[in-house]
Symmetry: C2
Subunit: 212 residues, 2 copies
């Protein structure tokens, strides 16, 4: 029996972040899928676990539930310190967290399914909705690319995987999905390095049991 | 001379978070104001500090610059551990961080000036724009209120101020600004307790030198 249960969805990029973190830590977990397009994340049983009605949520052995993907990743980093998802130095930790938060605060929540559906409900065309997502992603990843200009190695910050990479790789899926201009060779090279690692590759949406 | 310089704006709620954290830690800082409505956050000199063109940024003694308010708050918590902004237990830390991230990821970036201006540029009416902000805030704070149902004391999580309170108090300003239904007596009681502390009160927008 697994110690933890991840409530997620194969295509949810925030769930993808947590799958990568769990894999990097070598933690055993099972998955419960909630179909976003069918609105299963708003079912009463799931709302009892996560009142936000968003994915993912991590149900711990004993029944406690954690929400918000970055909070979950930092929890995993604290209970299973190796390999570390953050550097040891406070300044470097802040830089990694800032990169992660550009994606987790300023890109993803502004272009996720829920927001795009709200734009549609306000009468915007599919072209306008896709343009919104694309502009959000391009502007955000432009900043991400500049934030690592003095730091990048094999990965975003040096030669060890950090929380920054865990956020970057899922976001690039959405970049492609909305036809963003992939004008960041540095980010794409890092993505390829990440996907050469089983922890990232095994967490890919298309490799999940609920993939369609 | 101050050791740190906060680049912010009196009305920026993310800047307000960092002002509270700096005050709680008793750290000395000066402030440089960038007028959001005039677009000063997109001036080349500021973009050289923060490529995102968002406030706040914290310039450290020596010139390094930190961005993203939650990353900055955690940095301050690491270099100046007392009073702690997070509990010691990993599970409790994750719960506090999740609450903070509901606000910092799912509420504020979806209702900030930049996004509301984008909605206007797509032809939405002022009523529709205000409705967007209000719905985002109400839905997010509904979740926040439920997340602390089993945890609240004098503050969001027990009787010590945490990162959760640092995010809550500024967000409630925006709740009022957009006419949200203030249906969270628990959150409002906590807000009052926070504002009785000088660290919060001194950080209020109207008490800043650039207040209009």
């Amino acid at each position: 029996m697994s110690a933890m249960r991840l409530h997620g969805y194969f295509r949810s990029t925030a769930s993808y972040r947590v799958r990568i973190a769990l894999n990097l830590k070598g933690l055993s977990y099972d998955q419960r899928s909630h179909h976003l397009r069918k609105g299963e994340q708003r079912a009463p049983a799931y709302l009892a676990l996560n009142p936000q009605g968003l994915l993912p949520a991590l149900e711990l052995d004993g029944g406690k539930v954690l929400t918000q993907s970055l909070a979950i990743c930092e929890y995993l980093d604290e209970i299973a310190p190796e390999p570390a998802l953050l550097p040891g130095d406070p300044l470097a930790r802040a830089q990694v967290r800032a990169f992660a938060q550009v994606i987790a605060c300023d890109i993803h929540p502004v272009q996720n399914l829920k927001i795009l559906d709200r734009l549609r409900s306000l009468g915007l065309s599919e072209d306008a909705v896709a343009g919104w997502a694309r502009a959000t992603i391009e502007e955000g990843l432009d900043a991400c690319d500049r934030l690592i200009a003095d730091h990048a190695g094999r990965f975003c910050f040096g030669d060890a995987v950090t929380l920054a990479d865990i956020c970057l790789v899922p976001q690039l899926i959405n970049a492609r999905r909305f036809g963003a201009d992939l004008r960041w060779p540095r980010l794409l090279t890092i993505e390829a390095a990440c996907l050469s690692l089983p922890a990232f590759a095994d967490a890919m949406p298309e490799r999940q049991a609920d993939a369609e």
